[in-house]
Symmetry: C2
Subunit: 143 residues, 2 copies
DNA sequence: TTAAGTGCAAAATCTTTGCAAATGT
DNA sequence: ACATTTGCAAAGATTTTGCACTTAA
């Protein structure tokens, strides 16, 4: 399994290092996008220097291993997108659920053409990607 | 017209001050959501202290005169939403266009029920609001 | 061996807080 | 006159940069 992670890093043109393995592990174990501090908290054993974490995350992002989303609390949250492995292209449509209370982000499945929004086209704008953001309460916060 | 602005501030329970009139003027004149620094740039004549600007924007936001959106460059952008004046409730659906190049945000019209996205409901999540984000190139950047 | 990644300290940003002076009602 | 708002300075928080040391290929 650590084997799997190493291969993944190599596939994205990243050198295999301890720091990257650990951060990748944390990201993969999570079903939600994680902020810088979320990740730090989940590495309580082998603490990384925060600068290294910043750089690790940018490296993931540049190579397309992870993507980042800006949240309502003005922090980047990172999530790995393994489906991108093939061509390096991002999906054309994302759906993210943002919890109003705890600010966590979850990726939601968007399946089928029916879900494409038909916004009135505005003259002069080139639309490349649609992102749907759902705001509300996540299971942990809804009670 | 300055008359109009004063009335607007009062309607939202805000004292009328020079700083607020100016910031409101700038926001209203714009068809896109503006960041803190965007606003500063557009007030080159009568410069406000930046702390005052922060506080002015929070005041607008708290009272519901403006709403803020987190952008891909990790800055808040503010826009006035005059339609909200009536009940203070935000719209249930927003559409924002985010330019990939210059990070500007434009509000897009969403008209009619047809445009509501039908995402597969996930167990345990309470969805309160849908926001649609379109990413691409704005007229200024598309060439 | 050699280019890339890491950690520390320090700089640069960005945002918030405290408080005295100024302003609006 | 009194509560709010403003501006300045200074504190906090977050992110980036520089550079010597270490590590992966």
């Amino acid at each position: 399994m650590s084997h799997h992670l190493k291969e993944l890093l190599r596939n994205f043109g990243l050198k295999v290092t301890e720091a990257r393995l650990q951060v990748l592990q944390v990201l993969i174990n999570s079903d939600e996008a994680l902020s810088h501090s979320d990740i730090q908290e989940r590495m309580d054993d082998a603490q990384l220097d925060k600068v290294t974490l910043y750089r690790t995350l940018s490296a993931f992002e540049e190579k397309g291993l992870a993507h980042k989303v800006a949240t309502e609390d003005l922090n980047w949250r990172y999530a790995v997108h393994l489906e991108h492995s093939e061509n390096g292209e991002p999906d054309e449509q994302h759906a993210h659920f943002v919890c109003n209370k705890c600010d966590r982000i979850y990726c939601f499945p968007v399946e089928g053409e029916d879900n494409v929004v038909t916004i009135q086209q505005k003259e002069g704008f080139v639309i490349k990607e649609q992102e749907i953001r759902l705001h509300g309460l996540c299971p942990d916060c809804k009670t």
